[in-house]
């Protein structure tokens, strides 16, 4: 007989009916039912009962085709009244505000009249040349798309092509193309890691001088400038990150022999205050900003030992909140009260009283440093990705396994809260492409984190799908479009489709290597069946590659 007793099997049957059974438990139940005829009969009875109940409710309720026209008419007429009332309320509010402003203005005017400086003593404002468009001002955010594009020319007798590249911006309707870096840097500079500040006012990028020296630079209103205040040896490897309040960036630098974390103000102020905020033996990496932008969580790794710590942005109040082995991907909860740690390899663990020796997602409660283990897994090949916190303690995430050649991905989307872990549905590239072996599959998460664009290589082309992450993938994939193989580079390692969601999640952009063009796909219109083809946003003409695209956020 299998591992569970009859009573347990009955409990599992009930949980299974409500979709609450974990995969392992389902396997135990299946094994039990194969061996126990009585329980099998009972399960069959429940199944018949549920089917009957569903059919019955449908038959009973579908007789009614919705409310009558009278109700809809009533709603329509009362809607008008509600809208008018809302507008009146808003109008009254605005009017009240205007009256208050008028009174304030009169008072200020009186004050200023008394203290006015004679005109001849006033300084005229310094006229600053506007070298690039005003980002984040003048027009609303979300109005610029930045990308890296250039030309790659073969060099006779060399495997390495000659590459020139620049950073460009264009409006989402394809107008206003501008080269942000032309004539500013000598040929040979490489650009990458474009990152908008969360408020959309500043655009940072990493600049490789061509000799291995790397700077983080800023493009902002009225020109650019160096942000890091020092050449950074390897920010690209460890990344850099904007604080959530759009004032500072954190980056890691190994100039002192091991990685330490630095912060610097990147919002264009005169005193950027570059600060080394950690100075430990071991590597301080994997930093993430708290939602309020005042704290950082990071990992200190020494050999295989791992310490997860939290500190204030200036490096003070460093506290160890968890320890273990390996490496994690950290993510703050929305309320800033806890941190999720996602194991990145099968050997990654955090220690806690109730934790089993299995890799998993952990939730670290900062109040008391309590560590909770979510969804531990036996399979050491598994990693956890793309966590989406719906509300405090309720998370959706992907647990997946990638083949050694990264061509296949298997796994599941899961849901977890304090009382349960539920498998939403399997995610398997083979499910999507049933005709060929070897499907590289990648996810692009929507700005609200609820949807995924899934890109899959299948039968000599690429397919782009849309799926909702809280629904079983095998049921909710919508095929958006098929792209020819030539869309994406020449198939070399690291070639991938530059793709980006619009800040409002209503459309997506991608760049085709085939003809150096940027296309936009309006998801709303696709959903409504009005459009099935992407629209050409921009043909870059002489460029022959586009390596990165990023869309100005719209807070």
């Amino acid at each position: 007989m299998s591992g569970i007793i009859h009573e347990q099997a009955r409990r599992y049957m009930r949980a299974e009916m409500d979709g609450l059974l974990h995969k392992d438990q389902l396997a135990l139940l299946d094994a039990h039912l194969r061996e126990c005829a009585t329980c099998r009969a009972e399960a069959e009875e429940w199944h018949i009962f549920e089917t009957r109940l569903k059919n019955n409710l449908r038959a009973g309720l579908n007789v009614y085709d919705g409310p009558s026209d009278r109700v809809l008419k009533n709603i329509r007429s009362k809607t008008r009244r509600i809208i008018i009332m809302k507008k009146i309320n808003t109008g009254v509010g605005i009017l009240g505000g205007l009256v208050a402003l008028l009174i304030l203005g009169l008072l200020l005017n009186q004050l200023l009249t008394r203290s006015r400086v004679p005109a001849e003593n006033m300084l005229s404002p310094t006229a600053q040349p506007q070298q690039i468009p005003e980002i984040g001002t003048g027009i609303s955010n979300g109005e610029w798309i930045a990308f890296v594009g250039g030309t790659s020319t073969p060099v006779t007798g060399s495997d390495i092509p000659s590459i020139t590249q620049d950073i460009y911006m264009v409006h989402p309707d394809g107008s206003g193309l501008v080269n942000l870096t032309q004539n500013q840097e000598p040929t040979g500079y490489r650009y990458g890691s474009l990152q908008w500040s969360p408020d959309g006012k500043h655009l940072l990028y990493v600049q490789n001088r061509g000799d291995g020296t790397i700077d983080i630079r800023r493009i902002t209103l009225y020109g650019g400038g160096e942000v890091s205040g020092k050449p950074v040896t390897d920010p690209d490897n460890q990344g850099y990150a904007w604080s959530s309040n759009s004032t500072q960036v954190a980056f890691a630098d190994a100039g002192s022999g091991n990685y330490d974390i630095y912060t610097v103000y990147a919002d264009g102020r005169n005193d950027p205050r570059l600060t080394q905020v950690t100075d430990d033996p071991g590597e301080d990496v994997g930093f993430v900003w708290s939602p309020d932008g005042h704290r950082l969580a990071y990992q200190n790794r020494q050999g295989s030992s791992l310490s997860i710590r939290v500190m204030d942005a200036d490096g003070s109040n460093q506290v160890e909140v968890a320890r273990g082995t390996g490496k994690m991907r950290l993510r703050w909860s929305r309320d800033g009260k806890s941190i999720y740690a996602l194991a990145q390899t099968g050997n990654d663990r955090l220690e806690c009283e109730t934790c089993t020796a299995k890799p998993s997602i952990y939730r670290i409660e900062l109040d008391g440093s309590f560590v909770r283990q979510i969804a531990p897994q036996d399979d050491v090949q598994v990693i956890w990705r793309y966590l989406y916190e719906e509300s405090p303690g309720r998370v959706y995430f992907m647990r997946n396994t990638t083949s050694a050649d990264s061509l296949k991905i298997w796994g599941s989307w899961l849901y977890a809260d304090d009382s349960q872990v539920r498998e939403i549905g399997p995610m398997d590239s083979q499910q999507i492409c049933k005709t060929t072996e070897g499907n590289a599959l990648s996810e692009f998460i929507s700005p609200n984190e609820r949807f995924s664009l899934i890109l899959n290589f299948c039968a000599g082309g690429f397919d782009l799908y849309l799926a909702e992450r809280s629904q079983p993938m095998q049921k909710n994939l919508i095929h958006l479009l098929r792209l020819p193989l030539s869309t994406i580079g020449q198939g070399a390692d690291g070639d991938w489709l530059p793709i980006v969601w619009a800040p409002d999640g209503r459309s997506v952009l991608y760049a085709s290597e085939e003809n150096s063009s940027i296309y936009t796909l309006n998801l709303e219109e696709v959903m409504q069946g009005r459009v099935t083809e992407p629209t050409l946003l921009l043909n870059t003409g002489e460029m022959n590659f586009i390596s990165e695209i990023t869309w100005q956020p719209k807070p």
Binding site: R14, G19, A59, P67, R80, R506, E524
Partner: protein, 196 residues
């Protein structure tokens, strides 16, 4: 091989579209409001009907739900899906109607007993419902108390996951699971004598 059900595509389309139409509704676009009402009216009406068990009152409940939702639209922050939010409002509206009805019915029963002691209640549409469906099981569902009937309808008619039902009814998922267990047990025991 069948890959996904058209119904599932419809569901995801609705979720994506909701966010777009909602913004327009919040901006006071009448056309968008009409579309939102049209999209969800059947679901809301059938939910109201399953709680109130009276087609006329379900119509009033539907109207009240949409008007309450439109008044409160600015407060919808997208923490849950629009449908979940709308269902919570519908359930509040229907519960409050049930409470009012309970008081009214007490009085009505008293008057009925006084003036028409032999008259039986009968609703023509309810009768047609009974003949169209499996009356026994339907009656058994109707016989469940509200606490157990609503999760059954949300789970088995609207196909909602436990987490969503918990969010709508504002109780923990474990409570929903336990209520469903109780309801299933009760329904099966009510039907035990009946031949299949």
């Amino acid at each position: 091989m069948k890959f996904f059900d058209p119904g599932d595509i419809q569901s995801i389309r609705m979720t994506v579209m909701d966010s777009y139409w909602l913004e327009r509704c919040q901006a006071g676009d009448e056309h968008a409001i009409e579309k939102l009402v049209y999209t969800h009216q059947k679901d809301v009406y059938r939910l109201a009907l399953s709680i109130l068990d009276d087609p006329d009152e379900a119509e009033d409940g539907t109207q009240e739900t949409f008007l309450a939702a439109l008044r409160a639209l600015d407060s919808f922050r997208g923490d849950s899906s629009f449908k979940t939010w709308l269902f919570s409002i519908a359930i509040n509206v229907c519960r409050s109607r049930l409470r009012r009805r309970s008081a009214r019915e007490q009085l009505s029963r008293l008057l009925q007993g006084l003036f028409h002691p032999n008259e039986e209640e009968g609703h023509p549409e309810r009768m047609s419902l009974q003949s169209a469906a499996d009356a026994e099981l339907w009656n058994a569902v109707r016989a469940l108390n509200e606490k157990h009937r609503i999760p059954v309808v949300l789970r088995y008619y609207h196909d909602l996951p436990i987490a969503d039902i918990a969010a709508i009814l504002k109780v923990p998922p474990g409570t929903i699971h336990s209520r469903l267990n109780h309801a299933r047990g009760q329904l099966r025991s009510l039907l035990k004598e009946e031949p299949r």
